[in-house]
């Protein structure tokens, strides 16, 4: 086990993705690790984040990686995941966790996996949803046979439109479909233990009428005939009480279970803002993700954490959805 006398040194490459702040905070809260430094292509943002999380900003990736880090978090725009992951792997870290989606092409994702493997670096994909205690309970019940044979799953990962580089396809690789397919695709993999074989998708831009997709309704077929649908749309209006949701309706021969992953919420009516919000009070999923990642950085096993292969598998479904929408027909994954 790691101790406070010899804490793991972790670096963060880019705060382009907002989740980086959550990871920084979770890392800082753990006695076995320190946030040794950060780099960001946006130096002003990097300095601000370094100050906020009590660490040092390094003006180049190389300066940060030269610290001899145990692990690196990559939270850049999607298009840069590969370059930054491979840079980190070259620096001799034990583990890299990349924000999701792992990459924007299967080629990039495969390269990241192979590059890390060749250097003995553990590559993880940031899939915090798989650490949800409600999902764990659902999966445990399914595996214990409480629902009999699983027949179908209806999933949603709806959200508010995130803006920024997320809606700039050259940086993000797409819109709502690439952003929101991968979480539930990963959950379905864990739940079913089967590979997706075919995908159909209706993709649109009717919410914001811009050059990126804000609507995605996927139909996914699995080995053995289980089927699922997934709504990835950025369909929550600005006035919606929370950011979005992750839900699964799992139908089996023995009954139905419904997961509302972030359903542990309060209702908050506030005159000062004129708004209603639903503040969550559930367990921190990012915290569980960081715990697993730190184990990898310490050279231990962390079987629960999503690997690069898991990230690739989920990405393949998102990319198949874009192909299916183009073809207006079912395509193979």
């Amino acid at each position: 086990m790691t101790t406070t006398s010899n804490p793991l040194k972790i670096g963060i490459l880019s705060f382009a993705h907002g989740h980086a702040q959550s990871y920084a905070s979770e890392i800082g809260a753990r006695p076995g690790a320190i946030l040794a430094g950060v780099w960001d292509a946006d130096a002003a943002r990097g300095r601000a984040m370094a100050e906020r999380y009590g660490t040092t900003f390094y003006p180049t990736e190389g300066d940060l990686l030269a610290l001899g880090l145990d692990g690196v978090v990559v939270a850049s725009e999607n298009i840069h995941h590969r370059r930054l992951t491979e840079l980190a792997a070259d620096s001799g870290v034990k583990a890299v966790v990349s924000e999701k989606p792992l990459a924007t092409t299967l080629e990039d994702a495969r390269s990241m996996i192979d590059y890390c493997a060749a250097r003995g670096v553990k590559l993880a994909t940031a899939f915090p949803c798989r650490h949800s205690p409600a999902f764990a309970r659902l999966r445990e019940q399914v595996q214990a046979g409480a629902l009999g044979d699983i027949l179908a799953v209806r999933g949603t990962n709806r959200g508010t439109m995130p803006g920024g580089w997320f809606i700039d396809p050259p940086l993000s690789g797409g819109g709502a479909v690439i952003d929101h397919t991968v979480h539930v695709a990963d959950l379905l993999w864990l739940l079913l233990g089967k590979e997706a074989t075919e995908v159909h998708a209706e993709i649109g831009n009717s919410f914001y009428h811009e050059g990126y997709d804000d609507t995605g309704f996927l139909t996914i077929g699995y080995e053995g005939g289980v089927f699922a649908t997934l709504d990835t749309s950025w369909s929550r209006p600005k006035t919606f009480p929370t950011w979005g949701d992750v839900t699964l309706q799992v139908v089996g021969t023995g009954g139905v279970m419904d997961l509302d992953m972030f359903g542990q919420q309060l209702e908050h009516y506030e005159d000062a803002t004129g708004r209603v919000t639903w503040p969550g009070w559930g367990s921190s999923l990012d915290g569980a993700l960081v715990d697993g990642f730190l184990k990898l950085c310490a050279g231990e096993d962390a079987p629960d954490i999503a690997t690069g292969e898991d990230g690739l598998r989920a990405l393949a479904i998102a990319l198949a959805a874009y192909r299916a929408a183009e073809a207006k027909q079912v395509v193979t994954v």
């Binding site: 179908a152 804000d214 649908t229 027909q329 079912v330």
Partner: protein, 330 residues
């Protein structure tokens, strides 16, 4: 004037219609046709033969509440006899039969209305009004769900369990959603569906379907149909547009909930949410009343058999998609 109503079919829906006909002013039930004479007699003057009923009861309105496979036969008979027709949904089991029904009605020039009652459910009607008034801006996505256990009929044939007769959850139940969606968002251009219809699971008493729709307007829709929910009945919907969102969940939007002690004390025997309405606001009363009002005014009834044909077209395309594994273009 008083309209003379003859019911064809004294099953669950026939009984429900009879309840509402009896409460309506200017309506008299003059005949009930059903081979089960006891069931027919419980609702009104019982008949076992169509011609006898027609000649004896002299109905103005034929209300067809038979199982789906018998709809075409009775619509054609009623149309040929020049009667006003109310026919339950689904219009029929095949496009050919649905088109024959529309043709028979048009040829006879009789008024006819189809029982797409969800248009008269107040929560669905209220949502449509808000959407039509721009309350969500331009609609972009819509999701509806209609969830229940597998339908059961005791004491006679459970025709719902026969896929060739009922068409399963897609044709019998979420057809309601397809009609409401088409009414609210216009024509559908593409249907992709997965479901248990046609599989051995259906024969085990399970049906579940997930249907994705593309509308000509660009709206993308998703409908969940379940006969795999062992507890209770639930409907949900959500419409999201570029300026807002409207949502409903029948299990949350209730006006009365009970938790009653069982005979043994302690454990609840039954927990039941309810949303009671004033009797005249009942959707079935409202749809029958709208039909009668159209007859009195001499105008086309608000839900035509053509509307019902188009809703069935979506449902049958979904069944085709389930069977072939491919998206179906309409």
């Amino acid at each position: 004037m008083t309209y003379r109503v003859a019911l064809v079919g004294a099953g669950n829906m026939g009984g429900w219609h009879a309840t509402h006909w009896k409460r309506m002013e200017g309506i008299e039930i003059v005949g009930v046709l059903d081979p089960r004479q006891d069931a027919a007699a419980a609702l009104g003057p019982a008949f076992s033969d169509w011609e006898t009923m027609l000649a004896t009861a002299k109905p103005d309105i034929i209300d067809i509440c038979t199982p789906t496979p018998n709809h075409r036969e009775y619509v054609e008979r009623a149309a040929a006899a020049g009667k006003a027709i109310f026919v339950e949904k689904p219009l029929s089991r095949s496009i050919e039969d649905c088109e024959a029904i529309v043709a028979a009605v048009e040829k006879a020039g009789v008024p006819a209305m189809a029982g797409h009652v969800v248009r008269y459910f107040p929560e669905f009607a209220a949502a449509k009004k808000i959407i039509d008034e721009g309350g969500v801006g331009t609609p972009a996505t819509v999701r509806t769900a209609r969830l229940s256990g597998f339908p059961n009929i005791t004491g006679r044939e459970n025709w719902y369990a026969n896929p060739d007769k009922s068409g399963g959850v897609v044709l019998d139940m979420i057809l309601h959603d397809f009609d409401w969606l088409r009414w609210t968002f216009g024509p559908v251009t593409s249907v992709m569906a997965k479901g248990l219809f046609g599989s051995s699971r259906f024969d085990e008493g399970l049906d579940y379907a997930l249907v994705t729709l593309r509308f000509a307007s660009g709206v993308v829709g998703h409908v969940t149909g379940s006969w795999a929910h062992p507890s209770g009945f639930q409907t949900t919907f959500e419409v999201a547009g570029d300026k807002g969102l409207i949502a409903h969940d029948s299990l949350k939007s209730v006006s009365l909930s009970s938790s009653l002690r069982g005979a043994e004390g302690g454990r609840a025997a039954v927990i039941m949410p309810e949303s009671p309405m004033i009797p005249n606001d009942d959707p079935y009363y409202q749809e029958l009343k709208a039909f009668v009002q159209a007859l009195r005014a001499g105008v086309t009834p608000p839900v035509t058999v053509y509307d019902a044909l188009e809703a069935a077209r979506i449902a049958l395309a979904a069944l085709e998609s389930i069977t072939t594994g491919k998206a179906v273009t309409l």
